[in-house]
Symmetry: C2
Subunit: 247 residues, 2 copies
């Protein structure tokens, strides 16, 4: 029976992870190892300045007072009895599209799984409350079955974004590339009780460069499920060639 | 006069950032906007759950109670009077090689700069105490001059790793690709005063897949300065093609 590590960045009590756990029950033995608290925008942080406690909540559910990356590192290294066949991270309540992938705790957990040699997938619902977790669960289960069956190329993970719609309104699945976010100045100014200015980052409405289509954000806006194969190697080989010749 | 945003993840009081600031003085007007505290392994976290304060330390030096990414976002959006010509992040006391780039606050600051449209560079000293910051400063200044003069391809930043040696012991500069870290199980078990087991991540000695040479880690081990052009697009195009045809 395939051992499946289930994690997220919204925390062990988030509704999305329970739905994901249930979806994985058809495919093997899912074990939830997730942050005790909400870790949104934790990116790929590792906690190294303090020890971490693994709390057993009930059978096959563990909470760690750390980040999604901590959960995968400790999950694979210490908590699970065997090496897992799959890491799935999500279902995130909110999309992880384009450049935002770089901030994403959800995706980072899948990156960590990949680094440790486990085929991995991140799955997010792109949209806002109320969330249609079941729509994401259905595709998560299909893709996980495919990964367990066919594997993934070395160093590649899947970043899946599902339009936040009822299943019947989904147009299909598209394999996409990562889009590019247009900068928007989402910084709010505020003042503390002593009148000192503070800045609060967030709340902007992201907009996207379409870049000729076939990006994750374009697919989702057209009601397609976007599946982007991403990898760990950040090298830009074209630029490497350019620098070697011209610098 | 070129405005240069100088940041890091070791904090505004770290020795490396002062050396970097001084090196940039030859090229323009550097402004330090850095975390108030050490932020190592903060990765690309953005602080969105609380407001951030920008504290002016003295002329052209600011501290923010946040992450390196926060510093670049607020620096470009709010603190600097003009759009900067360059973001430089470092000099980190410790290397940012191979897959570890993904955890790196130093590199994340440069990624954020790139996202916001500013040519950016991260610079780290690969090694341990005592650090030869001046060796890194010399190459930082040369590369920054080149970037200001020639620019960088769109969406590309430079991740520079300098062997922690005296200048006279450096073999030269190599343009490299990002290497791959071999997993080592660097998790220490410890117990709290109540006898409960905890885990502490860190302290392992990283080892590297050489992958036929020309990686950042190989270059540094041969006493070369490694310059890796990295980019924001995580898409693996080969895998995209494969999925489109075979899934």
């Amino acid at each position: 029976m395939s051992l499946i590590l289930v994690t997220n960045d919204d925390g062990v009590n988030a509704p999305g992870i329970k739905v994901l756990y249930n979806a994985m029950l058809e495919l093997g033995r899912p074990v939830i190892i997730a942050p005790a608290q909400d870790n949104s925008a934790a990116s790929h942080s590792l906690t190294m300045d303090r020890p971490l406690r693994v709390k057993s909540i009930k059978r096959d559910i563990y909470a760690i007072d750390g980040t999604p990356t901590d959960c995968v590192t400790l999950g694979i290294g210490k908590v699970l009895e065997d090496f897992p066949a799959l890491v799935v991270s999500g279902i995130n309540s909110g999309g992880n599209l384009g450049d935002d992938v770089s901030y994403s705790g959800t995706v980072s957990a899948a990156i960590e799984g990949t680094m440790l040699g486990v085929p991995s997938m991140a799955i997010s619902l792109a949209g806002e409350q109320p969330f249609y977790y079941e729509t994401a669960a259905e595709i998560a289960s299909k893709l996980a079955a495919k990964i367990l069956n066919k594997g993934l190329p070395r160093d590649v993970l899947l970043n899946v974004n599902v339009p936040n719609l009822e299943q019947k309104d989904i147009a299909g699945v598209k394999y996409t590339r990562q889009g590019r976010r247009k900068y928007d100045d989402a910084i709010k100014e505020t003042f503390d009780p002593w009148g000192r200015k503070h800045y609060w980052i967030g709340g902007g409405t992201p907009s996207w460069d379409n870049d000729g289509g076939n990006t994750d954000s374009v697919a989702v806006s057209l009601r397609y499920i976007s599946v982007t194969p991403i990898h760990l190697d950040l090298t830009n080989y074209e630029a490497l060639d350019y620098l070697e010749k011209n610098w």
